[in-house]
């Protein structure tokens, strides 16, 4: 399905990542956003509030993030594509509803423009310290998808991708931006609507009599109906059977929770988007994501200037973690260097996937600025030794 041209601002723009994210949401067909102001994410909904009335949609500023994160889900069951945007403290408040979206299989997008934490931390300065929270922040076992843009252009592209993944797998998708990417102004090219692929809702074609809200076959993703169509379905955050009825037995729990996990994990090869460069024959591979990948690029160039064989692997998808690819590389690489704007989060996943076959070197940073390329270079030199 192609994008609805009414929402697509085709052309070449000079805008920041927050604004590009908003345009991506509109291009993807989002016509509903509920939000609560928080630095450094607010520009996304400010632009949405300005743009959406002439496109045909609604922005509602809620009383808090608890409300925003569930209001958008009500809108999804009413038929809309919907999202919310926040930063650390608000993201923490949204955790319960990320779990509700996972459990009820409500397709939706949560954008987190990461800032320094914990608590109020550094409201106007960058970090990448919500990466584990994005994966594990809500209680219980569940699976989500998380994408990490490293430029305003990718804030547009990956917002479209986030909506597409959320519709395809009926999962909440996290767009893990950071303050620098959100506030950086660069060229953003928005293609014509007919060149933007949009995944429609997996709406059931079954009759009211034949429809089972949580029955699946094939890829484990159920078909959806919307309120007001006569299906008279029940949705609950309780453990439920194929009818959507509460059924609190270990058997139903096992069947449901495993399916929520496997529908994403089984498609990991397709979901895991990576950018690789100079990997073949590299002794050291730098694994990074978001803004840090752009700093790492400089460090890699410096190291190559000194004659080292250094590869670059950028995680565009952070969750599900591309462990298969890391495992493959671990067998033919001396070491991984993992710089990130936190004290070591995704590096744990790299280390786990490497399984001791390659050295894993963390280059932590507590946030508030980006790394100095020299610090990453130092780690590359140590790894190459």
């Amino acid at each position: 399905m192609k994008a609805d041209p009414r929402g697509v601002l085709t052309g070449t723009h000079f805008i920041d990542g927050d604004h590009a994210c908003c345009e991506g949401a509109l291009a993807a067909g989002a016509r509903f956003a509920a939000g609560y102001p928080i630095t450094p994410s607010t520009e996304v909904v400010e632009r949405f509030a300005s743009r959406v009335p002439v496109v045909g949609g609604t922005f509602l500023q809620m009383e808090d993030e608890l409300a925003a994160s569930i209001t958008l889900q009500g809108a999804v069951w009413g038929g809309a594509k919907a999202f919310t945007v926040t930063s650390g403290p608000g993201f923490s408040l949204m955790m319960e509803h990320i779990g509700y979206a996972a459990m009820t299989e409500t397709p939706c997008v949560f954008v987190d423009v990461q800032r320094g934490g914990p608590s109020t931390g550094l409201p106007t300065l960058p970090a990448q310290a919500d990466m584990m929270q994005a994966r594990w922040g809500s209680h219980g076992d569940y699976e989500i998808i998380a994408l990490c843009p490293n430029s305003p252009q990718e804030c547009f592209d990956l917002t479209v991708q986030a909506f597409n993944f959320s519709e395809e797998f009926r999962v909440p998708v996290m767009l893990m931006m950071d303050e620098v990417v959100g506030h950086m102004t660069e060229k953003v090219v928005i293609p014509p609507a007919d060149q933007i692929k949009v995944v429609p809702r997996r709406h059931t074609r079954k009759s009211v009599e034949d429809y089972l809200p949580y029955a699946t076959d094939g890829d484990g993703v159920p078909e959806m109906a919307h309120a007001g169509e006569g299906y008279h379905f029940h949705v609950t955050g309780l453990t439920h059977d194929e009818r959507g009825y509460p059924n609190m037995t270990p058997q139903t729990q096992d069947h449901l929770v495993r399916r929520l996990q496997s529908k994403v994990r089984d498609a990991a090869d397709r979901i895991c988007l990576l950018e690789e460069e100079g990997i073949e024959g590299a002794d050291v591979v730098v694994i990074s994501y978001g803004i840090t990948a752009r700093v790492a690029q400089r460090a890699i160039a410096l190291a190559r200037g000194r004659g080292l064989k250094v590869g670059k692997l950028r995680l565009i998808t952070a969750w599900p973690f591309p462990e298969k690819r890391i495992r493959e590389l671990a067998a033919k690489t001396k070491a991984f260097v993992v710089p990130e704007l936190n004290l070591g989060q995704m590096v744990r996943e790299v280390e786990r996937a490497a399984g001791g076959k390659a050295r894993t070197i963390s280059v932590p940073h507590a946030g508030g600025s980006v790394h100095r390329p020299e610090d990453i270079l130092k780690a590359i030199l140590e790894a190459g030794r």
Binding site: T58, A67, H226
Partner: protein, 290 residues
């Protein structure tokens, strides 16, 4: 032997395949559902465009027993979920059906803001004066001196007067009944369907298992007698004078019935004023189905 094949008139509104329900003997929630179903019959509401949203708790389970598009959401968040549902599809009639703890404690912020915005929602709040699902703890509605599992020596906190709260926040329709007043309650629900805006109906309901028993207030039947003898119908009563006490009078009736533009009317007017013909109605373009 001949078998009479008589169907209960409210049966078509219920998920009979989920019966028996979880509510205790003497509990009032089932009575309120019966009144709700009768209001639907009498007001001839189109069931296809009717959605029901509940939070968590004993009353939160209503969503699982009605044969409607029905959402059992998270604790306290039925109102914001219902807000999204209503705004995404304005043709829906959206009912929020939940308990006092869910709506006025954990969800209290959403209650006042939805009333302030005047979102077109019909809120039915079953008030059993405690948190029942979790075993009878103190709620913001628990009357002074009442014994609960977390106020074993009696509650000292002043209680919320819910009609006064929602009137102050902006509700256009506010009524209170007890589960003894089944006819009046059904009529009130029907009236709320005629209103455009935020309507709030409080239903005082017994929890014989956890509230009545701990406070030596008798069983379900004794509570019905108490409701009958101590309720006083005062339509138009000032909501500042309808606060509840443990053993005193229960003022019931329709307290507020007024008109002010609902959120969607206000939004439409504002956008037309500012954008003129450039404004595109949300309902024209909301569904992203293939």
């Amino acid at each position: 032997m001949s078998v009479l094949n008589v169907m209960n008139p409210v049966e078509p509104f219920l998920r009979t395949d989920r019966m028996p329900h979880i509510w205790c003997p003497g509990c009032g929630i089932g009575t309120t559902v019966n009144c709700f179903a009768r209001a639907l019959i009498e007001s001839k509401i189109d069931l296809q465009s009717l959605a029901l949203v509940s939070g968590i708790g004993c009353t939160g389970r209503v969503a699982g027993y009605v044969k409607l598009d029905a959402f059992h959401t998270t604790h306290g968040r039925a109102i914001p979920f219902a807000t999204g549902l209503k705004l995404a599809n304005p043709k829906l009639n959206v009912v929020v059906y939940s308990g006092d703890g869910d709506l006025s404690a954990i969800g209290g912020n959403h209650l006042i803001h939805a009333a302030r915005r005047n979102i077109d929602l019909k809120v039915i709040c079953v008030n059993n004066l405690i948190y029942a699902m979790t075993g009878g703890q103190t709620a913001p509605t628990t009357p002074g001196h009442a014994i609960t599992s977390t106020s074993p020596y009696g509650s000292c906190e002043p209680a919320f007067n819910l009609p006064q709260l929602v009137e102050a926040a902006g509700a256009v329709y506010v009524a209170r009944w007890t589960t003894f007043h089944v006819k009046q309650l059904a009529r009130s629900i029907g009236e709320a369907f005629q209103k455009k805006g935020f309507s709030f109906i409080e239903v005082i309901s017994p929890c014989p298992t956890l509230y009545q028993r701990r406070n030596r207030l008798g069983d379900g039947l004794d509570t019905m007698k108490y409701y009958k003898e101590h309720s006083k119908v005062k339509h138009g009563a000032s909501t500042s004078e309808v606060g509840l006490t443990m053993t005193g009078e229960i003022i019931v009736g329709k307290f507020v019935d007024r008109d002010r533009p609902d959120y969607q009317s206000l939004l439409h007017a504002q956008m037309v004023e500012s954008l003129g013909e450039r404004y595109v109605e949300p309902s024209e373009n909301v569904c992203s189905c293939s």
